[in-house]
Symmetry: C2
Subunit: 220 residues, 2 copies
DNA sequence: TCATATTCGTGAAAAATATCACGTTATTCT
DNA sequence: AGAATAACGTGATATTTTTCACGAATATGA
């Protein structure tokens, strides 16, 4: 294990970091839905289908401590995770592509829980430009530079068809975008210093199919 | 390393399996867009931001061999991956929730590339029932049992608001659904034998925010 | 044809991650 | 208050995954 503490910022194992996101989501939900104060590692583990040991080990990288027989104090734990993920620091994002997917994103209400805020949605279809999506008016691509500058946007969600994705990504990078949140299935070719997060949903489906097939095999 | 070969079915390391999905997506794209026959591990690695050694190691679990100085023969490689993922065996899926997200899924054309097929979309809003989404008419939830039986549906995509997700999931499981493809942010509580694939997009955004913050730190 | 330059294939080593085991601590019950 | 019990914290161990290093194979060009 090779952890570094640099300028007070704890570094987590990558795998732990991934699970911290899950804990954050779970705890955020519990806080909204239930009026409970404490949660056991066992309960978290069951909800996320992992082991309690894993949960406790992950939390050992945090400051928050649990109490034997009682569990972790949810407000404290969630507070630390919020801090860690910077949910208080707002990051502005733009959406390119106002199809169903782009509209779904534009209407999503959960961004504020993770410190994000949609500031505009774009499309190049003259029919769509000017229409409203929730609180946003669909803007033409030529407005991209202005909006990116005005709102200091670093993150852009790409919701255009596969054929157009690379072109749009290049455009965005040209305008100074630092991270591409890619909802198209196209595997983008971009400079190394540009962050790419692919949300290609078909991967999840392949996983499901494989598990179903595996299960069918075992049962026979 | 502890691999098993059981009834002719090779078991892969889990991490390798995840990357095989990426190779499959990349090669599928290349076959459609370009007219090339061979690809180097180096090229694959660059596109996916991993190392060529990793690619070659992963492929070492497959039958397909590459040729030094030439690379891997794309049709053979893709053929083996298609076989592995069962893209020829069609799995029927239903969509519950005809909001923007459900509609986006219903209109997605890439399912056939991975051996899946949407057969119906459902909603409980009387306003929406009967409307068309692409080629599908939105059906009421009471039709669920009939459709599930008729099309032998094992996979259901949940595209309803967070508040309704658990209830819908329970309903689906009651009707015999085996795998839940969860597009809501709700962390579902379901029997262990039900496969759950969460597509909660906010996790990806947390990752982006973290990388941006990390980068800003390094640069200072 | 032979030398050279690439690129593949894959054991071996290193690194990362998960599991185990058990001491510690907080609560509950008598 | 003291004993019993349940759950946390974490070093040690086991497993998984990645990286390294180098021999083998293939194309290219003199």
């Amino acid at each position: 294990m090779k952890l570094e503490e640099r300028k007070g910022i704890l570094k987590f194992p990558k795998a732990t970091f991934e699970r911290l996101k899950l804990y954050h989501a779970l705890l955020t939900q519990i806080r909204l839905e239930e009026k409970r104060e404490y949660i056991l590692s066992e309960e978290i583990a069951e909800a996320l289908r992992i082991t309690p040991e894993q949960v406790r080990k992950d939390f050992s990288f945090l400051e928050t401590n649990g109490k034997p027989k009682v569990g972790y104090y949810i407000p404290e734990l969630l507070g630390e995770l919020d801090e860690l993920f910077g949910t208080k620091e707002r990051e502005n994002i733009i959406i390119v592509g106002a199809g169903h997917l782009g509209k779904a994103l534009a209407n999503y209400k959960g961004f504020k829980d993770i410190g994000a805020q949609v500031v505009a949605i774009f499309d190049n279809d003259p029919e769509k430009i000017g229409q409203m999506v929730g609180e946003f008016m669909i803007l033409p691509l030529k407005d991209l530079p202005r909006v990116i500058r005005r709102f200091k946007v670093k993150i852009a969600a790409i919701c255009v068809p596969e054929k157009a994705a690379q072109e749009v990504a290049d455009l965005l990078v040209g305008y100074g975008i630092k991270a591409i949140w890619n909802f198209s299935t196209k595997i983008l070719d971009l400079p190394d210093d540009i962050i790419i997060q692919n949300e290609d949903i078909t991967r999840g489906l392949l996983g499901i199919k494989h598990m179903l097939a595996e299960r069918a095999n075992i049962e026979r």
